[in-house]
């Protein structure tokens, strides 16, 4: 682009900015004591137009520079063919090395010097999202079914535990499999009507499903307690040994069992390891099931449903198992959430939660286990660190998503490891 074209381009951008800024910045309401008065501040409009003019000039110059560099690297690549995508390479290395590294770090975290109550608590939240991300990854990443209502299964798991505990006195470990089972049942319930839908249509129905579940929880006062939620959910005990300074009669407290001083952090550390264990089970399960026929059928279904049918794969059953198993892990996470919080209400299961979990999966790179950990850490820690900028949280969130979609539509660490490799003859 030559100089004249650049200035023209920037002038056009400035004009658009001025038109937009005129109603947005150009007028302000002022308190005149009586009715509201209007003051004009056209200088603001001018500043905005000027800022856009300069910004556009710089931006376009940078874009040109970047294009030049792309061309250079393309010329280089022409000399040196077969250079694979760098980020995909990193993804490959990440899945092999980063994940074990992260797991190792997660195991020792509570004993590190800086790990106080806040850090462990935060890490627990991160792990909940990691687990939800891994669970949703089965539905979205493997089976290719866009699910915008995943939080519904999380809610089902949480309420299952809360209600079972309240009415039947179930402990955490007894309620965990049942919560998973109920969530899986809801997964199948959602799966049936959406079997024929794909892409956008599926997304809309799943979004609706998530809202239906939340609204039922909100309105079915007799059972769920409505907006007040359910409180006083039993806190977890260490396999029957409660975490408490003065345990109920006839029970040994955890600190007495180990013969150590009572500290309120014990329970927090225990909860941390509990969710770590659950998340690891999810990860192991996913890695394993990918290599089984049903996992391969999910991926095949994502690639081409018609071809699947022609090969005799039952698409109905395959989709329903994906929904059920994905939902099951959501239910497990929900069960954990209920026991950790001790209080649940429909407030915790809004659409934004679904959006965040989906963002974690998409941002991390569909199918990449390490990528999901990275994205979950990013999306839960950043808002915590930038608490002062809470106003801009959604703005930054949206910006990050747009940037990722432009820069890496396949996610941060997109890499697909084959589920089986051909060994040379006689090697097996």
């Amino acid at each position: 682009m030559n100089a004249v074209a650049r200035v023209k381009d920037a002038a056009l951008a400035a004009l658009v900015a001025a038109v937009l800024a005129l109603p947005l910045l150009g007028f302000a309401t002022i308190d005149t004591g009586g009715p509201l008065g209007i003051s004009t501040r056209f200088d603001y409009v001018a500043y905005a137009a000027l800022a856009v003019f300069v910004g556009r000039l710089v931006f376009m110059a940078l874009v040109d520079l970047w294009r030049e560099r792309q061309m250079d690297s393309a010329r280089e690549a022409a000399h040196d063919p077969g250079k694979p995508d760098r980020m995909a390479q990193i993804g490959k290395l990440a899945d092999r090395w980063l994940l074990p590294l992260m797991i190792g770090f997660a195991i020792v975290l509570p004993f590190l010097p800086f790990a106080d109550r806040t850090v462990v608590d935060l890490a627990t939240v991160v792990l909940i999202y990691v687990m939800l991300g891994w669970g949703l990854n089965i539905v979205v990443g493997l089976a290719g079914l866009l699910d915008l209502g995943y939080v519904a299964f999380y809610a089902v798991g949480a309420y299952s535990y809360a209600l079972l505990q309240m009415h039947f006195g179930f402990g955490f470990w007894e309620a965990l499999p049942l919560a998973g089972l109920f969530a899986a049942f809801f997964g199948v319930l959602l799966g049936f009507p959406v079997l024929r839908l794909r892409g956008d249509y599926l997304a809309i129905v799943t979004l609706g499903f998530g809202e239906i579940v939340r609204i039922i929880l909100l309105n079915w006062q007799k059972v769920t307690g409505g907006p007040a939620g359910i409180s006083g959910i039993q806190r977890p005990s260490f396999f029957g040994f409660p975490f408490s300074a003065d345990p109920p009669a006839g029970k040994t407290a955890f600190h007495d069992l180990l013969g150590i001083e009572y500290s309120s952090i014990h329970r927090i550390i225990f909860l941390y390891y509990l969710i770590l264990l659950l998340a690891l089970i999810t990860s192991l399960f996913t890695a394993r099931i990918r290599r089984l026929p049903v996992g391969r059928a999910w991926e095949a279904l994502r690639e081409d449903e018609i071809a699947c049918k022609a090969l005799g794969i039952n698409p109905t059953n395959t989709k329903l198992t994906a929904f059920a198993i994905g939902a099951m892990f959501g239910g497990f996470a929900g069960c954990f959430f209920a026991t950790r919080q001790g209080f649940i209400s429909p407030e915790s299961f809004t659409f934004i939660e679904s959006a965040v979990i989906l963002a974690i999966v998409v941002l991390g790179g569909m199918g990449s286990q390490a990528g999901i950990v990275l994205a979950a850490t990013l999306l839960t820690l950043l808002p915590e660190i930038a608490r002062e900028f809470a106003l801009f949280r959604m703005l930054a969130f949206g910006m990050a998503m747009v940037l990722i979609m432009v820069w890496r539509p396949q996610g941060l660490l997109a890499h697909r490891e084959p589920t089986i490799k051909l060994k040379p003859k006689g090697a097996s």
């Binding site: 391969r296 095949a300 081409d304 049918k309 022609a310 005799g312 084959p418 490799k421 051909l422 003859k425």
Partner: protein, 275 residues
């Protein structure tokens, strides 16, 4: 020709007011290559879609005989046709699992047997030995076909990275991994160069002769059709206009009329058509 493999009787397929296939009857014999030819829009692919269960025919019976059992395809669901009646198909526009590797494509094709061996996932999760054996067998079968279609070297590459000819061959191999008794090929030679087309002929003849498999073939490339077909069915505007051996069909005036046009249709029409 005793006991045909597939017997199509009075097959009619209507889409609203449009009659795509009109009262077509023919049969395909086991261990034979039956070609369906015809000008564009003659209804060939519609016939295929009815056989493979993607469409439910408006009228007609499609009877497939396997191991002295009869399967009425028009009453079965698409995936049951592939699973129980053992009819496999390929597509006009290739439908591979693009992001999965070549080997995975062939393993997915053996889904139903592996699913059973993995105890519907429950046993497979714990590394059940019978499942591991079944998976090894599946890999061996895949290796057999990879050697056959000359793709062993790229077995761990994504299927999308193969050149066009390789993708065509892989799709045929994938269909063969389901152990079909009838293999339906929708324009397998489309877009192939003469050498690849020749290799394809050899592959199809190999499948016919050594895998006890009947082949049903839609093809525009007359070179392929005339060389390898045992039996040809000609469709035009949804109706069958000729049926018989390649020699018979080649000299059938009705076929010549369909491809080259009538004498009265205008002299200029004669120069075009099939070659």
């Amino acid at each position: 020709m005793n006991a045909p493999l597939l017997q199509v009787e009075h097959l009619t397929m209507r889409f609203g007011g449009l009659v795509a296939v009109d009262d077509v009857s023919f049969s395909a014999a086991p261990r034979q290559i039956t070609a369906i030819i015809g000008p564009n829009g003659a209804g060939k692919t519609t016939v295929f879609n009815c056989i493979a269960g993607f469409y439910k025919p408006s009228v007609g019976r499609l009877a497939l005989r396997r191991d002295s059992r009869q399967y009425l395809l028009e009453r079965m669901q698409g995936h049951h046709i592939a699973h129980h009646a053992r009819v496999a198909r390929t597509f006009q526009n290739i439908r591979l699992f693009a992001k999965m590797t070549v080997l995975e494509n062939l393993i997915v094709a053996q889904h139903n047997r592996l699913m059973l061996a993995s105890g519907y996932t429950a046993l497979g999760l714990f590394g059940w030995p019978a499942y591991r054996r079944a998976e090894r067998d599946a890999v061996e079968k895949a290796r057999y076909w990879l050697d056959r279609i000359d793709l062993t070297g790229v077995a761990d590459m994504p299927a999308a990275s193969l050149p066009y000819g390789g993708q065509r061959r892989l799709e045929i191999a994938r269909a063969m991994c389901t152990d079909p008794v009838l293999l339906c090929l929708d324009e397998p030679a489309a877009g192939l160069n003469p050498r690849e087309s020749h290799e394809l002929n050899e592959l199809l003849i190999f499948i016919r002769d050594s895998h006890d498999c009947g082949l049903l073939l839609i093809e525009h490339d007359m070179g392929v059709v005339m060389q390898i077909s045992d039996h040809i069915v000609v469709l035009d505007y949804g109706r069958k206009i000729s049926d018989g051996s390649p020699q018979k069909v080649r000299n059938d005036p009705a076929v010549i009329r369909a491809y080259l046009g009538d004498e009265e249709d205008g002299a200029g029409y004669k120069s075009g058509g099939a070659s």
